[in-house]
Amino acid sequence: MFIFSHRRTLTLLDGEYGSVFKGRSLDFDELRAYVPGDEVRDIDWKATARHGSPLVKRYVAVRRHSVLLLVDTGRNMAAEASSGEGKKDIAVHAAGVMGYLACRHGDDVGLLHGNEATSLYVPPRAGEEHLERLLRDIDSQITLESPHGKIAKQLDYVLRYLKGRLLIVVVADEFLPDDHTEAMLRRLRARHEVLWLTIQDAELAPTPGSAAKDSTDVRTAEPIPSRLAMDSKVRAAYATATGERTRRRRDTFRRLGIAEEHTGGSEDVLTAIFTLLEKHRSRAATTAQRGKGGTSAG
């Protein structure tokens, strides 16, 4: 199981993804005429004998990808998820699973996280120790005191400063993408491969009779008495509004062709990630392909 790449990598480092570079691997690509400088042991002697002039075997070099974990570490991520756990824990969990999959696959894992004030970038590196450090970063950055999150800032950072093709795994919450963010996403989608994992926000209108605690909005510090939220009229209006919001989010991602999956709690993080990876892989069949489809392994 690994993060599938639709495109070939452009890097020179080894890995299991299809690469535009030719090199040594088990994947045979072509035979071509020997030119001085080629390794002698690359000469396909049987073909040379048949052909009459030296031919060299070419293989598709196996390269590795850089996986960038793009995590919203604003204050909003310190809030509760729909399961009642902290969204932070779920984010760390999800980023950990993604990072681990990438690590095991031999990919480099980098991190870009931040809020509306700052964006922090940790360049991709291999190794579980590095991943551990990234997860610690995420964990320490998400507090109720940190500035509010704004994923558009991080998207802008990626578009502006990060060169090369990346596999971007975004872990964010149920914000509503505005036009600006959507434009950024479109550009991001064009340059990188984007997987989007949404952590569902807490249900604001609890069912009547449940001993729900009062809520506090992390942005405005406005208290929301659960008693008011239990009012049947308010609940009905909330259900309609939430349905509309979810539909708009889904439409946005569908329009952009970004694989999106949501998770409510840490129990279904694995399921969600699996579904997300599958969705992303199957997008090869549904969306227009640039270049030839990547090789799949795993």
């Binding site: 991520m77 926000d201 809520s215 239990m230 009229k233 308010v234 209006a237 509004a241």
Partner: protein, 329 residues
């Protein structure tokens, strides 16, 4: 409006401040942090519910404050201090009834009126003397109104009958309607005035309601004039009711005129009765003149007036109950 325990109010204020301080120090109730609260708070339905909720809370706070203020005020014991000249009701009244045959109708009416009046008495003393040729104390001056009313009832019944053991002892002397003797007995039934003139004991007003037609027959020991003089020395006012005033002309030796002169000499009044039905009106008139003429020294009266604060507290409490019920989810 004064407060007996005014220090309760600052104490309440201190308690309220202390409670507010405790409330501020109290750890806030654990709430869950949520993001994008505008998903809910942006809804007009929620805004409306919130406004309603706020209004109720504000009302509850207001009612609580009113309740606290009202109960604190009630606890501080509001009193009304007024200087008042209370009508003294320490009158002594002796009914002096001539029970000669012609008088019984009037006597019954008087007894009836006083029987009613005795129910309203508070502080007054009433006594009753009947006389014909000799006088009988039916009951002495008493403030046992129940007893007096009972006696007056019996007297009224007997007087309506006009015969019976009630009249026993009124014919022991010679003649009949010995008014001077009768009046003297009535006057004697008041205790002696304190010669030292001590205001405390001598302050009771004294009046005799004398019902007679002043048709004297026989030799009284006291003439009317002597009896009136005796009454004057004892500060007794004589109010005379005469059902049988049949004087001709303005001569002063006629019975009615004599009686009028006698009554007025004591500072009392004289009424000519045309029928027993007029008695109640006259008696009340006498009562009224007595009432207005006696007033005590100005007196500071302190009365508790807890009705207002307690009433407000009750309303506020009821309001809070209703609100509390509405605020429950």
């Amino acid at each position: 409006m004064e407060l007996s325990y005014w220090w309760i109010l600052p104490l309440t204020a201190i308690t309220v401040v202390f409670a507010a301080w405790l409330h501020r120090r109290r750890k806030p109730r654990p709430t869950r942090a949520v993001a994008y609260g505008e998903r809910l708070t942006g809804l007009p339905e929620y805004q409306q519910a919130l406004r309603r909720h706020r209004l109720r809370l504000a009302l509850a706070v207001l009612l609580g404050a009113v309740f606290l203020a009202a109960t604190a005020t009630a606890a501080a014991r509001p009193t009304q201090r007024s200087t008042e000249q209370p009508e003294i009701r320490n009158r002594d009244i002796v009914l002096c009834l001539d029970v000669s045959g012609s008088m019984t109708g009037t006597d019954a009416a008087i007894a009836g009126v006083f029987q009613e009046l005795a129910k309203e008495f508070d502080g007054e003393r009433i006594g009753m003397v009947i006389f014909d040729s000799s006088s009988v104390h039916v009951f002495p001056l008493t403030d046992d109104y129940e007893y007096a009313a009972e006696q007056l009832k019996l007297a009224k019944e007997a007087l309506d009958d006009g015969a019976g053991s009630f009249f026993d002892g009124t014919w022991n002397g010679e003649g009949s309607s010995l008014i001077g003797d009768g009046l003297a007995s009535c006057v004697q039934s008041f205790p002696d005035t304190d010669p030292s003139g001590d205001q405390g004991t001598a302050k009771r007003s004294r009046s005799v309601v004398l019902a007679t037609d002043n048709f004297l027959s026989g030799e009284p020991i006291f003439t009317l004039d002597e009896a009136v003089a005796l009454a004057a020395t004892k500060n007794v006012k004589v109010h005379a009711l005469n059902p049988g005033d049949v004087d001709y002309g303005g001569r002063t030796d006629q019975p009615g005129a004599q009686l009028r002169a006698a009554a007025e000499r004591t500072g009392g009044s004289y009424y000519k009765l045309d029928s027993p039905e007029a008695v109640p009106g006259i008696v009340r008139e006498v009562q009224a003149t007595e009432a207005t003429s006696y007033r005590a020294a100005p007196q500071a009266i302190v009365t508790d007036t807890p009705a207002w604060p307690l009433g407000i507290a009750l309303l506020a409490g009821a309001g809070m109950l209703v609100l509390g019920w509405r605020l429950e989810p």
